[in-house]
Each structure stands twice: as C-alpha cells, then as structure tokens.
Symmetry: C2
Subunit: 444 residues, 2 copies
Amino acid sequence: MELTKQLAEAVLSADPLQDERAIQMARNGLLDAAASAFAAKEDEGIQQLMQLIEQEGGAAQIPVIGQGKKMSRQSAALLNGYLIHALDYDDVHSDVRGHPSAVIIPALLSQLTEGKGYGERFLGAYIIGVEVMARLGESIGKAHYERGWHNTGTLGAIAAVCAIGYLKQVSMEELTKAIGFAGAQSSGMRKQFGSDMKPLQAGLAAKTAVWSMDLACSGFGGNDSVLDGALGFFSLYGDLELAKSRLLEGYGSTWRIVSPGLWFKVYPFCSAAHHAADAIQSLMKERSFLPEQVKQVDVIFPPGGDAALIERTPLTGEAGRFSVEYVIALAVFGQTLTLDAFTKKNIPSNMRTWMKRVSRGYDQTTEPHPNAVPKGRFTIVKLTLTDGTTMSKRVDIPQGAPGCALSKEDIIQKLSSVTSASQAQQILQAVEEENDTAYLKWLT
Amino acid sequence: MELTKQLAEAVLSADPLQDERAIQMARNGLLDAAASAFAAKEDEGIQQLMQLIEQEGGAAQIPVIGQGKKMSRQSAALLNGYLIHALDYDDVHSDVRGHPSAVIIPALLSQLTEGKGYGERFLGAYIIGVEVMARLGESIGKAHYERGWHNTGTLGAIAAVCAIGYLKQVSMEELTKAIGFAGAQSSGMRKQFGSDMKPLQAGLAAKTAVWSMDLACSGFGGNDSVLDGALGFFSLYGDLELAKSRLLEGYGSTWRIVSPGLWFKVYPFCSAAHHAADAIQSLMKERSFLPEQVKQVDVIFPPGGDAALIERTPLTGEAGRFSVEYVIALAVFGQTLTLDAFTKKNIPSNMRTWMKRVSRGYDQTTEPHPNAVPKGRFTIVKLTLTDGTTMSKRVDIPQGAPGCALSKEDIIQKLSSVTSASQAQQILQAVEEENDTAYLKWLT
C-alpha cells in the first residue's frame, strides 16, 4: 500500500486516549503553548498581522489568544501559530527538529465549535499530530533541515492536517486528499530565522492545514498519494526510501509525545543554545568574574550541532535568539536569560564587541551521552580568563529537555508568570475537563 | 551586490513602457488570459472554492472574473489565478516552463483601486512580471521542474511580487523583503497535475504575492536577501551558481514577453501535447482512416520532452489534459480538440482501451529545429495502419507558439467565443485605454 494511504489509515484508526502518560504530556504541551502565546501577546508583529488581516475582512469565528478578538478560522490558525512561536519560547521535539505544538494546536483550536464534541478528542488529536510530525521529521532525513528547510513549516501542515483528520474523524478519501493539498503547499526557509517570518512560518503551516482539510471536505479535486512516487513529497523534499522504512515503523507502540517527548523551554531562545546557557551559568557559579576578565570562550558542538544558530554578531535581541554568542554574553554581563533580553531592541555595542571573544568549534571525537537531547548533541563551554585560569563545562541534557524535564508545576508557573490567575485557571480547567465549552472559554 | 537586491533594483528602475512590441504582447496576453478565465467560468472547482471562501467571510474588494462577485484582495487573486489556469488554456512561456499570466495578472488585478493610476502602469508591471518569471525559470535550472516542482507555483509568487512592486513603485526595502516573504512561501508540486490542485497552485502563488507585498509594506520583519547564500532560495530550490550567471544577464535589452515570447494556446490542454495534436491532425488530412484501422501510434519526443504528460491512461477528460495518448485518441476518433473533451466526465472505455495502441519513444539523435518551441523540443508521430501503411509527421513549432503565433485577431476570436460581445469589447477597451476605470469596468 502507498505511504499516503498507510499514514491516513494509521491516523484514523489510532486510539491515543488509552495512554495516560501521553494524555498527561499533551496537557503539559497545551499549557506550555498557552504560556508561550501569552508571553508574546504584546508583540509588535501580532499587531501588524491583525491589522493586515482586518483590511481583508473575515468572519469572527475563532479567538486569537490573549487578544480579545475573534478572526476567521484560517486567520486565527495563522495568528495563534505565530503567537505561540513568536518568542521561540514554545516546545521543540528532537525527531521533528522543530516546533510541533505551534502548528498543531492552532490548527486544532480553529476546528472548535460548541456541541461538536471535539473537546473530548482534542488531546488525542494533538498526540496524533505530534506523532505524525515526529515521524515526518525522521522520514525526511537530516539533509532536509541542513539544506535550509524550516521543518516546522515544511512538515507542520501535513502533521496538522492529520491531527484535524483524527479530530473530525474524516473519511480515508478526505484525509489522503488533505495530506496532498497540505504537502503541495509546504514551505518555510531557515534563511528567515531571526526575523518575524520565522514564527509566521509556523502560523502559515497551521493555516494551510485548516484550509487543506476544508478543501478536501468540499470535494475539491486533488491527488490522493502525494507522499509517494518519484514526483511525490518525500522524493522532492527528502528521501523516499528512508521514508518507506521510517514513516510507520512501530506506529502507536510508544507515542512520540512521550518518548523522546516534548522539550519545554526554560529560556526564550533557540533550543540549540540551551546547553551552552546551562554551561555558562554553571561556570559562573563556580567562580565569579567580570566580562573584561574573560579572554576567550570556546563553544564546542558536534559537527552541525549549531546549524540553527545562524547569527554570530546579531544586531537585536530578536536576532539574538539564534546566537550562542549573545546568550553567553548576556550571562557573562550578569543579565538574566529572560524575555526582556530578546526583543527588537538593539544590543549595546560594547556587548556586541565582547561577543567576538566567543568562538565556535566542532568535535566529532567526543562521544555524545546515550540520552542526549537532541540525539547526538552536546555542548562544551571552555572559558579562558585573562589571568590564565581555564574552566570547562559540558552539558548533554539541558534543563527542560526530556530527561531533565519541566514538571507540570513548573509549566503552570511559566503560565502564571504571563497570564492572570483566572486565565491560568481557565486553561487548566480546559485541559482537565476536555469538552468544547471549557476549551472555548479559555480562548476567549 | 546580492542577487535579491540586484533583482529589486532592476525591477524598480525598468521602463518597459518604452517598448511598443512588449506592450502589444502584453495586451494580447491580457486578452488571452481573460479568454481562458471566461472559458472556465462554469467550472465546478471555482464554485467549491468560492463557497469555502465565503464561509470564512471577507470584504468585497476585487471582482472574480465572470462570477459577478467581489472577494477580498487575497481571495480574488487566488480565484482569478485558478480561473485563468483552470482549463490549461492559458499562455505558457518556455523560459518559465510554466504559466506566467495565470499568476501575474491576478496578483496585479488585486491591486486596482480607482484613482491610484495603477491602470497606466498595469501593462508595464505585467511585462516585468513575465520578465522576472522567465529569468527565474532559466536561473532555477532544468532539474527543478524535472524533480517534481511546479514552476508556475514555485516561481510565480516571487515574479508576481516584483510585478506588484513595479506597479506600486514600492521602496527597495519593501521589495527585497517582499521577495523574501514570497520566496519562503513558494510551493507547488507536479504530482498534482491532472487534478483541480494544479490550477489552484497558480492561484495560490498569486495570493502569496499579494499577501507578501502587504506584509512588507506593513513593516513586518523579514529577511531581505532570501535569494542569496547557502540557505537561500536558489540554493534550496535550484542552483545558486547558475542563478548568479543568469538572473540579471542583459536585463531589459529584449523583454522576454516578446522573445522568446508568450505562447497562446490553440488547444485547452498541456502544451507538451500540442506538437502531437498538430501532427496527428495533419496526418488525418493526408489520408482518412478509422480507429480500428490503426495498428500502432509511436510518439517520439526528445528525452524528457513528455515530462509534463504524466497521464498515460487517464480516467477523465480533466486528467486527459496531461495525456498525449488521449489527445491522439480524440483526434483519431474524429472528435474536436475543444473544451468539451476535457471535463471531469469519464473517458469512454472503448477509447481508453484504444489508447493502449499509442506508445511513447525518445530520440536524442534527432536535431531539434533552431527555432523550436520550447527550445530543443520536437514531436514525431508515426502511424502504422493495419494494412501495413506507415505515415509520419514531425512538428517543431506548434500552432500558437512563438514563430507560429496567434494574431491579435485570433485571440479576440478566442475571447469572443467564450464571452458576450459587450464583455469582449470592455476588455479590449481596458487594454487600449490603460486607466483604472477601464480596468475595473471589464472585471465587473
């Protein structure tokens, strides 16, 4: 059987609600996504996007998180996806090499309608979406990301359309065609990292998923085997042979949302710099020093481990989300690694000058920890002070990553720091009650 | 200077309205696009799309061709792009290896507002759009299409955003960012050929262009050199080195809309089958025969010349737009190669059975004609009758292609066959008068 049909069948026949660990993780994922979106509610980009969308008009259908407004289903998916990913504070998944929840949750929220009973299936659909996106990530191969594709964008639409397919329990024909529509609209470039367009690529994937399923359910004509063959999605964006062996191997035995699991972020910047952030802070606890006392910092990755960190001397805090140099400078200058350091404001020139003391290196002889997150990753920070002292710290599993995960209480704390107590309570209630009314209530 | 900035500068500083031949061709192009859209006005897909879009709501801003309705600017771009390309009756361009007008014209129509003076620049903007799309086609390399990308979709958004940039005379910063937004949303798969999604991919590119320019003009943040570098558009979708030598070489010396020029279609199916259509009809004039008197038909292409013809035994007339076997069968069965043969209706089983008598072959020893359209193309149809007679006909430049082009009168005839006389008159008036009022009048 073709991969497209196999995937659709696996999605529609799955029963993730039997797995209590998966449900707990999905609850945490939804709370963390809400926290990430509320943290971005004052973002300048969201205001620009809402103004643009309002010029085009549209029905008031689905709430935009924290904005006190409803937009059309597609527009809400775009805006909520943008919001969740805006600060790069949302979860990542190592199989995806990207951000599953920023695409899947907004696509699902846009389906909610009182009385449909989708609330009961919401967490299950989310589990399925993460599952498909993780499997797409493994199937598309490492070269996909390395060439410059933004996996969150390129894999998100197909994954989210599968999540919607499970939520609405569509037919095989509808789901295979929807996968095809989503696949043929998949895009997103790493070249846009460090700009507003990066989080928008998450929102666009969510919107594409909503629209692709609508197209399929309207009877609009499309190919029902887009993942397959020499001209298909995997051949074009990745490697069909790899996909044949990976896409459905052991489907449903352990949900990917549990293992390797979602990584909830402690810091609001690219996860590839989290190991270094932990390392430098640990070194600073060993001994105190001033920025001018630092002669050199060497940050050692496995080859390719810093691919996402495309900025070396960023101009703004926003671009600094993709700069290990900036993260280390912030720590050494005694600043906290919190939201206010990663805005559109320019980085002070003395800090930018200091960042030149940070060099990157690559080591393929160091053996990664068996449970390293992501697989095969480590970061070693070597510090040389002007007095000749050298210090070194290696991190394989950063705080927040699976193996060093945030507890539900930690995530509630993250949420409470960016919302009102009553809003946090409503979100908690929704993930516990799992019905349409509770879901729609927290959103508004 | 980087390619993105070079392209933006070339677009904004060009003056295509000095070239009378280019303007005449642009007029013909607009008339032919209108004819192609009106021919599709009863299409089932357009009704499904309009219903879906109406569910989302939206302001009534720009008319949808022949539908007596206005939609939001983005939705109108999508719908008009779909309509022009719906029947595969619209122009092609050999440098593009796809359909420039189906993307560029709808994107431009969505900018029209009374009193802006865009009417005066409309044909110039269209010339620029074709220019950029042709140059993108050459720059992206042959492998792009062969791997499975649908050039109309993948190149159309950037080209159309450049056309809009010229129309609105935006700033360099706005245009470079808009190119970046369009580039990062570029998609479209040949796997969707033969389904409604193929023409929708043209409409999606047009919509992406409208939205990308709006994003750029709103100040939303994005990368301003998306075409460049190891992670950029050309590296990702094609070949950056090729692009460096091709994208701007001799820019503006001869407009590509004139040479090699737009190909206006005589038949409503994929241009790759037009040579064979001319050949079989020519053979049938030499000697009359019945379908059952045909033992075998060999259709010989240069290697890869039939890549777009992805259907060998299509089920419906719609899929038959991409089948040289179906085109030859229609002719041999005495049917005309007109719109009514390429609908969603099933192909009769006796005709499908007969189609097995048609074989494809490839010949790399035959020398293509120096003016062949597209470059390097030819098709030889060899007929073997049951009585042993063999006949053969070679075509290098099919009817309608540059070198054998339709005259303005032919195109007006094509237009008049699908619109009322008064509608045709209004469209003619718009391309002659070139002002906002006349353009908006023909659309409504």
